[in-house]
Symmetry: C2
Subunit: 438 residues, 2 copies
Amino acid sequence: MIKPQAISWFWENLPEAQIIEDKFKEIIRKNYSLSGFTPIDTPVVERLDVLLAKWADDNEVYAIHRVNGEVGDDSSLWLRFDLTVPLARYVAQYEWEISFPFRRQHIARVYRWERPQKGRYREFYQADVDIIWNWDLPNFADVEVISTIYNSLRELDFWDFVINMNNKKFLSWFLQTLEIENIAWTISIIDKKDKVRYDKLKEMFFSVWLNEVQIEKIVEFIRFSEEKTNTEILTFYSQFSNELLKTWIDELKYLYNNLINLWVEEKYLKINTSISRWLNYYTWTVFETFIVWAENLGSVSSGGRYDNLASNFTKNNYPWVWGSIGLSRLIAVLNSIWKIELDRKTVSKAMLVNMWENTLKNNLSILNILRNAWVSCEMYLDSETKIQKQLKYANNKKIQYAIICWLDELEKWVLQLKNLDSGEQLEIKQSEILNYIK
Amino acid sequence: MIKPQAISWFWENLPEAQIIEDKFKEIIRKNYSLSGFTPIDTPVVERLDVLLAKWADDNEVYAIHRVNGEVGDDSSLWLRFDLTVPLARYVAQYEWEISFPFRRQHIARVYRWERPQKGRYREFYQADVDIIWNWDLPNFADVEVISTIYNSLRELDFWDFVINMNNKKFLSWFLQTLEIENIAWTISIIDKKDKVRYDKLKEMFFSVWLNEVQIEKIVEFIRFSEEKTNTEILTFYSQFSNELLKTWIDELKYLYNNLINLWVEEKYLKINTSISRWLNYYTWTVFETFIVWAENLGSVSSGGRYDNLASNFTKNNYPWVWGSIGLSRLIAVLNSIWKIELDRKTVSKAMLVNMWENTLKNNLSILNILRNAWVSCEMYLDSETKIQKQLKYANNKKIQYAIICWLDELEKWVLQLKNLDSGEQLEIKQSEILNYIK
């Protein structure tokens, strides 16, 4: 006898939690599709050389091998650690088959060996949208990515979130005006500002040779962005005469205004001039999304723009903008602040009581009528089980309706319909069942 | 520069094929859900000891390891080779949390190292439905599994298939009446009957010590089942007085009649007394589904009943009935007989032409109106591109509608709507757009 054990740090749901996760996935997928992002589903494995092209820390990567083969069989296949490297490989491989601009979505699991940490798993879902072009990628692409993420999060519907947006060139410009030399390191410290105390932050700045005045200015810059409204920030930086700055502020304004034109509500957007997302990688728009009251649990959705997605695989240039909802992370965060309520344990909306062989044929017709009308339903499997036990099963799984076709009412074409949520009980005509269950 | 290469025998789709595969998945998932099968999504990896409990041939299995770790790190995790072993582990692990009968579905990829073969991949999709009980599992469960598979295949809609059903005890009984000793081997030979020529089959029977008379009877038995109608077969075997045989025929009748009661069309069902699905494993109902004109390409959907799903993991008894559509196999078979027509390259149903900054705000409202009405759409990303080139992009991706908001018609709230499928072109009021695109 083998003990059936879950694998540590690989998440799995009981049915009631799976139903919630699936609902999330479905809403995200629907919104991604409505914005014209076509699903693509690359294999879960990629070749070693493909993944290595982009990834520095191979401590976090899983490889696969045949159990009775040599390690390294199948030309060293690795499990994907994100959905972007496979996308880069895909775009380069099919560059003559794909028509650009290419809008794609991918909602799938990725794999990372990580030290155990709350809310982190070694297998987790990402939900990405990407726009890639073989040409100059217009700023409207960034608008589309962020509005699509916004639509998805809004429809998930039960919490407040804020999308923090920045133009990364803008942050670099500001640091240059302070005559800071080590811009990349400084940005990586600013990136940690929400995670460490102020004195610790200051210490980190000192460690990269910033002086008191520079640190003061950076802190002021961060606070300004935190305290002022979007319009105040855009207005303030518009007054400088620096030509490049003007361009960047115009880009940020374009992004912001067109999100509003796409009916994004202002309170969900925050221009945050200190958002950076790591160093060097992103070149323009960057965004991070936090759940109000759970900011310290980290970003649940992020993205940005990169000049050249597939440079390791092709000499052609593919500018790219990307957004991602960290689906597993999002659910973990919502769980930790008690925002997820488990409800039903089954997709069935109705259960037919199964008692008398003579009503079987009639019951099966009812099942079919409901299913054809897209109502999920089942009949209790066993006709020998007492009616109370059958109803208990339905109650336990939180099935909303129980339907009883009594033997002596069969000829009257009458059914008893119990709403197990409300306790309501009705006698209805069989032909009218779809008026009651929908 | 790294050459972007696909991995041999790991399938991946271009967008137009992915859209078809996703449509298949969605239809199957919908039909599984309508019959009350709740989705479950176990990790792609399982522990070595869990997988070994059921699997004999570990030559076909992939394991994973950390790239810089030891082989065997993470207590030897293996990629699942089917969805059943993880289900058995899951049922045993959560036996006190699940309420039974447990109806679940799982549409996901599995991994098998196999020698290259047409229509076989090392990563492929299975779509399973399962019913498990901690009690006697009534025959109605078998009806539900087969009717659900039937509903899914019918909605896929563009080919003819036949579900071949049998009661496996029936086949064993017949072989016993011939005084055959090596029943398991004989069954495994009968299982190959569609794949080998008659003289080869005879040779195989000889090799397990069957005599001419026995072989003659078996061939007659197979032919009878092939040539007679369902009713003729059931009637013929009903006339014997053997009590056990009576029971089995009654079970098979129950299955058949209630499928008909669930409006399954008779021509899609075939009682086939020589269907067995390997040896020993299945104990009662078994079925295999073939596509008409492509029988030699193998079964695209199969299943059966097993007395005890989780015997390796728990002392409690879980009878189980199962059905599966081999989604990747099905698509490969349909492709090989030219039954899959690639069509659209994007989920977008409409594209707005993007030309004038002054119409931008109006265009974005139209985008939003369409998306809120669940019409997938996009605006061409770049406003500098000539209208002909924008329409060429829409044509190329087979987007059905192009919408043009001319600058000089902006004030009249009029749009030009081109149906790129039909060539039709209309001038419509902006407020009526949803009457035209739906």
